[in-house]
């Protein structure tokens, strides 16, 4: 598994929760939205095992209802536990992302100085 896909696998739960928090979506919509925000190399099918796991852990719940285009779709909603989990993930992401980001920033600054 590439480093990139390992990273994505780790943060995928958070991404899915964040999309669902904004509005209830069904599977196909969710994968389109993830692609729209730039996660285009996530293979579309990867969301279904994630959705099942989140449901099993009570972070989201699914509900079958007619979609705008007509046929029944399973829409996903965030539960209270899901909201909490998302807060935690967002906080932990920040705690990891910011230090790593500034570390790499410093490194690229040094590099550009060295080439001067």
């Amino acid at each position: 598994m590439s480093f990139r896909s390992q990273l994505l696998k780790g943060i995928m739960d958070g991404c899915v929760l964040a999309v669902i928090e904004k509005e209830a979506v069904y599977g196909y919509e969710l994968s389109k939205k993830l692609q729209d925000i730039g996660l285009s190399d996530v293979s579309e099918g990867t969301i279904y095992p994630v959705l099942l796991r989140l449901q099993k852990n009570g972070l989201i719940r699914g509900e079958m209802k007619p979609s705008e285009s007509g046929p029944n779709r399973k829409y996903y909603y965030l539960t209270d536990a899901g909201k909490e989990a998302l807060e935690t993930i967002a906080l932990e992401w920040k705690q990891v992302f910011l230090p790593v980001h500034s570390l790499f920033q410093r490194r690229s600054n040094n590099e550009s100085k060295a080439t001067d």
Binding site: Y26, G27, Y28, S43, E44, P71
Partner: protein, 223 residues
């Protein structure tokens, strides 16, 4: 929507898949449905979501491989791993219902054989419960082994480039004949042991019908 409705809708929608996508998706569907310990409702819901997704992707010119990855078995295993276990699918009522059915059919067939046979020759109505229980166990054991074996044949036939249906049919056929032979030999050769009593044709028929109704009731609990 109930699992049964989802299955019907799935059957209808699957016809719109291309041949290649139908093979890829169909194998995953059978593989996931064969996991009898998982929630049927949840399994059918996710299968429907995957099918809807695949149909939309198909319209955009994508294949099942693009959506679910190059390895369908691995993907299906990931789905299975995250599906909840069935709470209500009671395996016990199903199996005991089946056992009661077998017993009731044996009693009913016996009553018919005695009724018709006794017109032509003397037929003993004596039964040896211990002997019957042993023969019955052989029958039930071969049924359970048969179910397991046929599931295994189906599982092994999935996700292959070129499934060998003829070989599978021969395997199932050989199993069927061997188990039939085993049951006939067991019932013929089994010595009459233990206590015995007489059970006339009408008593046999009555018992058979009562046990059949009981088996029907037990199976209903499952639904």
């Amino acid at each position: 929507m109930k699992a049964k409705q989802l299955i019907d809708e799935n059957n209808r929608k699957r016809e719109r898949l291309t041949k290649e996508n139908e093979k890829y998706y169909g194998d995953m569907l059978v593989y996931i449905r064969l996991q009898l310990t998982l929630s049927e409702q949840q399994s059918e819901e996710v299968l429907m979501e995957m099918l809807d997704h695949l149909l939309e992707a198909q319209n955009e010119g994508k294949t099942a491989k693009d959506i679910f990855g190059p390895n369908p078995k691995q993907y299906a295993d990931e789905i299975i791993e995250n599906l909840p276990k069935e709470k209500k699918r009671q395996v016990l009522p199903f199996i005991s219902g089946l056992a009661l059915n077998v017993i009731s059919y044996m009693l009913i067939i016996r009553s018919i054989v005695i009724l018709i046979g006794s017109q032509f020759k003397e037929i003993t109505t004596t039964v040896y419960p211990l002997t019957s229980i042993i023969v019955l166990s052989v029958i039930l054991a071969s049924i359970s082994f048969g179910v397991w074996y046929i599931f295994k044949i189906i599982k092994d036939s999935l996700f292959l480039e070129k499934p060998n249906n003829k070989k599978d049919m021969i395997k199932a056929g050989i199993f069927g004949s061997v188990s039939m032979a085993l049951i006939i030999v067991a019932s013929k050769l089994m010595p009459e042991i233990g206590p015995s009593f007489s059970l006339s044709w009408w008593a046999s028929l009555l018992c058979g019908c009562i046990i059949w109704i009981a088996g029907y009731g037990v199976k209903k609990i499952e639904a």
